[in-house]
């Protein structure tokens, strides 16, 4: 894969190299400092979390994590989150892949803009009407309703992420497939899909992360047994119960699955975003 060379015909001067390295270190530090603080805080007692001067290495305690697993039904909630996030991601991809293909081929814009409608209104607009509608359908508290509602987020995100990739597939390839007599869905599956796999990886990650971290729909529509982690877990700061340690433990645990997923596909992610973005 081609890369923009820093300077192909000129050697990079030592000072430029150093500047480059410094920038990387600076960037990594800025990114990591708050996250490191969060992780460290999760192993401290609440009263030690914000003491100044900060005591970086107090004797670590597992009390916060213990409280998280005992006080909340954390594992069960995480499982629910996983079901909903994977379900919504799957739904998003299944609907968005053919749509991106069609929209890209026909050079349309209105369908893409229309699917984005769901991301234009504030989430709170949907709460009451959806609750009324889905309780009439007796779906409130089910995985189905959670997957469907989060699908309204994943479909536009997946679609817009995939569009540049489909735009980058040579039209000649598709035409030759048609001349060969392939039906449209075969063209999609056999010819085009292998070329856009990186884009699918990207879209999958984004759909997963956006659903995993989304709070509002599950707040109203999840039942006792289907409560997602993000709704159940951030209840450690309130009047009379300010528990920073437990909050940071919850935050650390909630951040794990998306990070693990990202790590697993990050190779494809980087190259994936690469291929797609420039064409868009």
């Amino acid at each position: 894969m081609s890369t923009v060379p820093a300077s192909p015909l000129h050697r990079r001067s030592p000072s430029a190299l150093l500047l480059g390295r410094l920038q990387v270190v600076l960037m990594l530090t800025l990114v990591l400092l708050p996250i490191a603080w969060m992780l460290l805080a999760s192993f401290k007692h609440s009263v030690d979390v914000m003491t100044l001067p900060p005591r970086l290495f107090t004797a670590p305690t597992l009390d916060n994590y213990r409280e998280l697993f005992v006080r909340t039904d954390f594992l069960h909630n995480t499982w629910n989150s996983l079901v909903v996030a994977f379900g919504a991601t799957l739904l998003g991809l299944v609907l968005a892949i053919p749509a991106a293909f069609a929209i890209s081929w026909h050079r349309m814009t209105w369908p893409a803009t229309l699917t984005l409608f769901a991301r234009m209104a504030p989430g709170t607009l949907f709460l009451l009407p959806w609750f009324v509608l889905f309780s009439k359908l007796d779906l409130v508290g089910s995985y189905t309703v959670l997957i469907l509602t989060h699908g309204a987020i994943t479909v536009p995100v997946a679609l817009w992420t995939l569009l540049p990739y489909f735009d980058g597939v040579p039209r000649a390839l598709i035409e030759s497939g048609q001349i060969d007599g392939c039906r449209p869905h075969a063209i999609l599956l056999r010819i085009v899909l292998p070329l856009v796999v990186p884009g699918i990886m990207v879209a999958a990650i984004l759909c997963f992360v956006f659903t995993w971290n989304y709070f509002l729909f599950a707040l109203a529509l999840s039942g006792f047994d289907t409560k997602t982690a993000i709704v159940a877990s951030f209840n450690f700061v309130g009047e009379g119960v300010t528990n920073w340690g437990a909050l940071m433990a919850a935050a650390s645990m909630i951040a794990m699955p998306p990070l693990v997923l990202a790590l697993l596909v990050q190779r494809r992610l980087v190259s994936g975003l690469a291929l797609g973005a420039v064409k868009g």
């Binding site: 890369t3 923009v4 909630i254 990070l259 980087v270 420039v278």
Partner: protein, 309 residues
């Protein structure tokens, strides 16, 4: 300069999309039906809530009171309400500041990541961590870390002799601080888009530029940046939809304050609906906000057409 930029369009068929030419394949291949599942699904999900919201916004409806039809009364009232106008202003200021910061810093970050030779995969993974965190967490951390009295950031800058800053408590510059925190979270997202864009630009363009004597900063501005246009536009659209509906950070970290200096339209609507139980008014605010976002997206969509095709 123009010739260099135009060259890739012809030179890399596998890259930038080409003009359609009439031919047997193009004419008879109709794929429009493939998009209907996605469009119908989204349409079906949102039609009832949108219709409901519009309908309620035509009433003076509050909790415990009889709803009264007022037509466009709520909308006209919003236009006159100084709180809403303030929220409108706050939203746009925050949007402009945050988008600019995220695009600029994200591009810088992407360029830096592109130059990394050692452990690129690891570095890139670390770089995307911020936007994997839930917004609620980032809000709480911002509130705690940036607190002017008990926050660690002021303590750190005190070590190097700087006076404590108000950050999120500053009546005038609170939006800058909010934009800064949001940039911490989302510039990495832009950076990765940019990184990807950089990685698939053809080398030939840059060799041609070298030959023409265009190197370094000038090369970046006149060659790289234009080629990154589509990438940055995609990033801008995706961030715009979320930035205009800014909520979590201002709700948790500043509660819309000091005063109402950081109350965005989305937070205004939330307060009206969920704290004051003024449903008709809140719906009108939400519909107005949706229209604002729609207009912005349409503008970007037009821009995209111009830049890409």
């Amino acid at each position: 300069m123009k010739s260099i930029v135009a060259a890739p369009a012809a030179a890399s068929p596998a890259g930038i999309a080409q003009r359609p030419h009439p031919g047997l394949g193009q004419r008879s291949l109709s794929l429009a039906w493939m998009m209907w599942p996605a469009v119908s699904f989204v349409g079906a999900m949102i039609v009832f809530p949108l219709a409901y919201a519009v309908w309620i916004s035509l009433y003076d409806a509050s909790l415990g009171a009889e709803p009264r039809f007022v037509g466009l009364g709520n909308y006209l009232g919003l236009l006159r309400d100084p709180e809403f106008r303030n929220a409108f202003k706050v939203t746009w200021l925050l949007y402009a500041a945050a988008l600019a910061m995220q695009l600029v810093l994200g591009t810088w970050l992407g360029v830096v990541l592109n130059g990394v030779r050692w452990a690129r995969n690891l570095v890139c993974t670390i770089a995307i961590t911020p936007f994997m965190l839930p917004p609620v967490v980032v809000g709480m951390m911002a509130m705690v870390l940036l607190d002017p009295s008990v926050g660690i950031v002021n303590w750190l800058i005190g070590l190097i002799g700087m006076p404590p800053q108000l950050w999120l408590a500053h009546p005038t510059w609170v939006l800058a601080s909010v934009a800064l925190v949001d940039t911490w979270q989302w510039a990495p997202f832009v950076a990765l888009l940019v990184l990807g864009g950089l990685q698939s630009l053809p080398v030939s363009v840059f060799e041609a530029a070298e030959v023409d004597g265009v190197i370094g900063w000038r090369r970046f501005v006149f060659v790289t940046l234009p080629l990154l246009g589509p990438t940055l536009l995609t990033a801008a659209v995706l961030r715009s939809v979320d930035l205009l509906r800014f909520f979590d950070l201002v709700f948790i970290a500043t509660r819309g304050g000091p005063g109402n200096a950081s109350t965005t339209m989305n937070m205004y609507a939330y307060q009206q609906g969920f704290e004051f139980s003024r449903f008709g008014w809140a719906s009108a605010s939400m519909i107005t906000l949706s229209l604002v976002v729609l207009c912005t997206v349409v503008v970007f969509a037009r821009l995209r057409r111009a830049v890409s095709w």
